[in-house]
Each structure stands twice: as C-alpha cells, then as structure tokens.
C-alpha cells in the first residue's frame, strides 16, 4: 500500500527573495527611520547619546566634588540647576557625566552577545546533529539562570569589575540570539543556492559566512536592538544595586539608589533626573527596534500578518530573558 503511494514531493519553500541585496540593512534602517515610531525612537536615542557624549565636557562643576554648603539635598537654584545630592555634589554635573560608561558597556556587551549567540545559533542550525544538540543544551542551561542572577553570581566571585559585567551580561544575552538565528538559519540552509554552493565543496564556515549570514541581517538587527535594550536594563539594574563603577564616580543607576533619601522633603531631582534619562534611553532603543521589526516583517512580504506575528514574536523572544 505505502509502496504504491506517490512519493511525497519535497515541500518547496516559497522563495521570496533569492538573495538579499548587499545594502538591505541600510534600506531597512532607512525605512524604519521614516515611520512615526522609528522617528520618535531615533530622536530619543540621539538626544540621550548627545547628553552622554557631550555631557562630560560641559559639566558646570566636577561631578565628584563636594560643592555648596556641604549639606545634602539642596533644592534647585540658579547656581545648581538641579540641586545637590546626598553628599552635596552638583546633580546636573553628575547626570551629564554619569551615562557614557554605562552606554559604552551596554554597546560592548550587546556586540559580544550578538556575535557569540549568532555564531552559536547559525552553527547549530547549519551543522545539525551532534553540534546542534551540544549548542542548544548549553543554551538551555544558560537560560535556566535569570539574567540578573547570573550576573550577580559572577560579580559575587570576581567583584564588580567592569569588563566582567560586560562579558557576563553579553553572555546572558547570547541564548536568545542563538534561538532566533537558529530557526532563521534552518529555513535558509534548505534553499537551492545554498545547496548548490555546498555541492561545489565549499567549507561549512565559508558557506555560513558568505551565503547564510547575509540573509540573516534583518533578524540580526532586530535582535541586536532588543539585546541593547536589555543590556542597558541589566547594567542599570546592577549599577542600582551597587555593582557597577566604584562609588565616587557618577552613574545614573546608582545615583537613583543613593539619593532615595532625598525623596521626602529633599531634592527630588537627584532621583528623578537619572530615572528619566534611563527610562528615555530604554524607551528610545525599544521603540526604534520595534519600528525596525515592523519594517523587516513587511519586507518579508506578509504585511497583513505583520502585526500579529510581530507581537507574538516579540513577546516570545523578549520575555524570560528580561529577568
């Protein structure tokens, strides 16, 4: 019976774009920047970037010096525009000086996480078999730790070293990237042009690098954006808990914590200013990433599904790792 049945045709995946053009990532970013969400997100990101980059050069006072009366929590005045903090330091100077280290660290750990996770995900899907098993089980183990807890574990051993925080936070971002890129690679590695290249005897590493990777640029961009947002969230959280730069140097996360006593009757701005900057930064990166994701799904040729798919996908990929 079964022998007589017609052999099932291999299901041909509907080939949408045979090869991704070289500059597609620029086109996607450009299209995203022209949407309303993209414009808002990009605007906020640029504003914060300007504050963190130019800020350290235009501080009215030294960000670590005790100024004014020496009493904590002076209210805002013409002399100290945002008042002073718990140790009577100028809040405006500390805010202007307190963002760039975290931003650089978050960018570094995002790059680390995307590179490690991307390499793991693509290799797992392309090499299959044994490697797929090893890589994805490793991913499961790393995912069993809540992100912040994993970082705390290593900080508790080695101490709050900045390079350590960059590597550990980046490492906890990698599993999510690996999962997304693995499923994207599974689809691409079945396409005819990949098979054709393989038949020519090209080495797996080269196939992955020059045939598969260029087709993963859009999911990579979306993942990088999400990972950047969560890197900032985790870094700021670690700084808030006191595991960041050592105390006298200003940083937004720890400023919120150390000035909490000023919320009652003191200088509220010492807490509010860094809180608003962190909130704006993460909202900006998240909003722009959302715009990129929407454009990317639209380009894939299923605009009618874009909304539902995007929300489900974003919910599934971003959750769980936020912890």
């Amino acid at each position: 019976m079964t022998a007589l049945a017609a052999p099932t045709e291999p299901q041909e995946p509907a080939v949408r774009s045979p090869r991704t053009p070289r500059r597609q990532w620029l086109a996607v970013l450009g299209a995203a920047a022209r949407t309303t969400r993209g414009r808002v997100g990009l605007g906020i990101m640029l504003f914060i970037a300007l504050v963190t980059v130019i800020g350290p050069f235009v501080t009215p006072y030294s960000s670590t010096a005790i100024v004014g009366s020496g009493l904590p929590f002076a209210k805002p005045s013409a002399q100290y525009l945002l008042g002073t903090d718990v140790l009577s330091r100028d809040v405006l100077s500390r805010v202007l000086d307190g963002g760039w280290v975290m931003l650089v660290m978050a960018l570094c750990s995002t790059v680390f996480g995307v590179v490690v996770g991307g390499a793991a995900g693509i290799s797992a899907a392309y090499l299959r078999g044994k490697w797929d098993g090893i890589i994805m089980r490793t991913v499961d183990v790393v995912l069993a730790f809540p992100q912040l807890v994993f970082a705390l574990l290593f900080v508790s051993i080695i101490g709050p070293k900045l390079w350590l925080i960059v590597i550990v936070v980046g490492f906890t971002q990698a599993p999510a990237v690996a999962r997304v890129l693995r499923s994207a690679t599974l689809d691409i590695s079945e396409r005819d042009y990949v098979k054709a290249i393989e038949l020519q005897g090209v080495k797996p590493v080269k196939v992955m690098w020059s045939e598969i990777l260029p087709n993963l640029i859009t999911p990579l961009m979306v993942e990088a954006g999400l990972r950047l947002t969560y890197s900032i969230v985790v870094m700021a959280g670690l700084a808030f808990l006191g595991f960041g730069q050592p105390p006298p140097s200003p940083q937004w996360g720890y400023m919120i914590n150390e000035n909490r006593g000023g919320l009652i009757g003191g200088n509220v701005w010492a807490v509010v200013a860094p809180t608003i900057l962190i909130a704006l930064l993460t909202i900006g990166t998240n909003t722009f990433t959302d715009a990129v994701a929407r454009v990317a799904i639209g380009i894939e040729g299923r605009p009618q599904e874009a909304l539902v798919l995007n929300e489900a996908a974003v919910a599934e990929t971003t959750l769980g790792e936020t912890a």
């Binding site: 069993a144 807890v149 959280g237 809180t275 990166t285 912890a323």
Partner: protein, 336 residues
C-alpha cells in the same frame, strides 16, 4: 475467503505514543533534572574554584592565617573538590547546607522564611498580572484600532522597555513620598517574619511587578483574541444568531487564552529574576533581597543555594507551562 485480521493498532504503538502527554512530562522532567545538575555544578565550580581561595576572598586584607584556616574548615575547602561538591549537593536535599559565612546562622533556617515571602510576592503579582493582562488584551482586541487599542499599544511599548526599578521609583514618588503618602515606601517587615502580617507592605512591590508583566500578556492576548474573533467558528456562532457576549465569552475567549498561557508562564519565569531588584528597593524580606545582601557580603553558601533555587523554579516553571499549554490546545496533544 480467509479474511486477514489486522492486529489491533493500539498494541503496535509504543507506550510513549499512547500516552504522549505523560511521555512528554517524563522526558521534560528528566531533561530538567539533568539541566539542574549541570546548573548546580556550574554554581559550585564558579563559587569554589574561580576566586582561588574563597576563604581568603571573604576575609580580604584583614585575614590572618589562623582565621583563613578556620573559615576553610567551615566551608569545607580543606577537602577534595569532588568530595566538597558531593557534600554540598546532597545537602541540597537534606537541608544540611552549612552556615552563612556572614552571621553564622544555618543557611536553610535563614532562607526558608524569605522563600515563603518571595513565593507570596511572585504568585500574588503573577495572578493579578495575568487576569489584568487577559482582560485588557481582550478589550483591545474587541475594539481593534480603537482609542484604547492605540493607547495600550504605545503604553506597552514604553513599559516593556523600562527597568523594574524605574517603575518602582515612579510608584514610590507617586504614592509613598513626594506626591502622596498613602502607602509605605519601604517595607518594615523584619527578615524572618511573613509578608501577609502586613498586607499594606505588599501593595507597591506587587504593583511594580504587575505593571512590568501586564504589557506582555496584554499584547499576546490581544493578538490571540483578534485571531480567534476572525476565525470560522466565531463567524459561525455569530451567523447562528448567538448573543454578542456569548460569542465573545464562550467561543472566542477560551481559544484565545490557550496561546496566552505560554506567555503567562514566561512572565512567571521573569518574576524569578525580577523580584531581586524589586525586593531590594522595597526592603521586602524575600530571597531576592537576601541574594543582594549575600553578594555584598560574599556570603557564598547563601548565594549558592539561592541561585540553585531560582534556577530550579525556572526549569520547573518551564515544564509546567509547556504541559498546561498542551492541555489547553487538544489538537497539539497528539502529534509531537
């Protein structure tokens, strides 16, 4: 004439095919246990091997050889590595986890009340957040592209990006300090007592966690509900002339909740890590706060145990979510 009697097909099926759900639960549980053993090895090796000598690291510059030796004995550092791991690993089940290096109290005695307080926090926040997310998601789907849908979409995009402590600080400013004083800013529950003795202390920590998780559940519920409302069976129910509320509550809603359960499970997973910062801010005496204090004091026995507990919660919550999602969608129960 002779009719070949086919053997009853059920016999030829393997046990795992007859009971796919049980097979799945058992397989996932075994994989989960294996993951946890690996997690415990990582936690153990990380805290015991990496720093060189943990005893020296704890005592720091003030250490004298005698004190280092005493602490080494307390931590079991004078034994072999495998031996040390085995003693610790079996201790996870018997409760003999040694003593805290910062105050000398038993690890289990110290963590147990914290664990109960954290569990209360996680489940109260998780349940309120799930119900709220489902209701708000269904509302947005019913009035798709209406004002509520648009506002909730923008709010969700903003809130999902925020760190927990930003939301917590905003709530503290609004309700506990600057704007009004209706709620306590920090909990005054001493460690070792229970949260339900003073429910008012739970309000802000729970509210923070609810605000963090609701947008995810709301977005997923909205997407699933829109799909359900556009499906053939809902169309059929409408054409039969059923009342609108009946179509929504009996036909669309249950089918939309099924895919949402997965996201609810993921949110409970998030809570396992999210409580760390939130408990610390509100001075809530749970394991998250305990972990932060332990990391500050390099209290290794407490850190080890807390991380393993959180990982165990993570792994088993994952399995539970999969099983419930499977039970909620009958057609997926068979083909796996």
């Amino acid at each position: 004439m002779a009719v070949a009697v086919a053997p009853p097909p059920a016999r030829s099926l393997r046990w795992s095919q007859q009971h796919p759900l049980f097979a799945l639960v058992i397989r996932r549980t075994l994989v989960g246990l294996l993951t946890l053993v690996i997690v415990s090895i990582i936690v153990f090796l990380a805290t015991e091997v990496l720093p060189g000598n943990a005893a020296y690291a704890i005592l720091g510059k003030t250490s004298t050889p005698a004190r280092v030796r005493a602490l080494e004995q307390q931590l079991g550092l004078d034994r072999g590595l495998v031996d040390q791991y085995w003693v610790w690993f079996t201790g996870l089940f018997t409760g003999h986890l040694g003593t805290s290096t910062s105050n000398g109290l038993g690890v289990w005695a110290q963590i147990e009340p914290r664990l109960i307080d954290s569990a209360v926090l996680v489940f109260v926040a998780g349940i309120i957040g799930s119900v709220l997310g489902i209701v708000l998601g269904a509302m947005a789907a019913l009035r798709k592209d209406g004002w509520f849908d648009h506002i909730s979409a923008v709010a969700a995009l903003g809130i999902t990006a925020l760190p927990e402590f930003v939301i917590a600080i905003a709530l503290i400013i609004l309700f506990a300090t600057t704007v009004s004083h209706v709620l306590p800013a920090v909990s005054l529950i001493p460690p070792g007592s229970y949260a339900w003795n003073d429910p008012k202390m739970l309000v802000l920590p729970v509210a923070t966690l609810v605000i963090v998780i609701v947008p995810y559940i709301q977005r997923m519920m909205r997407a699933a509900m829109i799909e359900a409302l556009e499906s053939d069976y809902v169309e059929m129910a409408r054409l039969k002339g059923l009342k609108a509320w009946r179509v929504v509550f009996v036909h669309a809603l249950p089918n939309a909740i099924a895919p949402t359960i997965q996201v609810i499970g993921l949110n409970f997973l998030y809570l396992a890590g999210g409580i760390v910062v939130v408990e610390y801010i509100f001075n809530f005496p749970g394991i998250g706060q305990g972990l932060v204090y332990a990391v500050t004091n390099r209290d290794i026995p407490i850190i080890q145990f807390t991380v393993v507990i959180l990982a165990a919660f993570y792994v088993f919550m994952n399995i539970l979510t999969d099983v419930i999602a499977l039970l909620a969608t009958p057609r997926r129960r068979i083909a796996r």
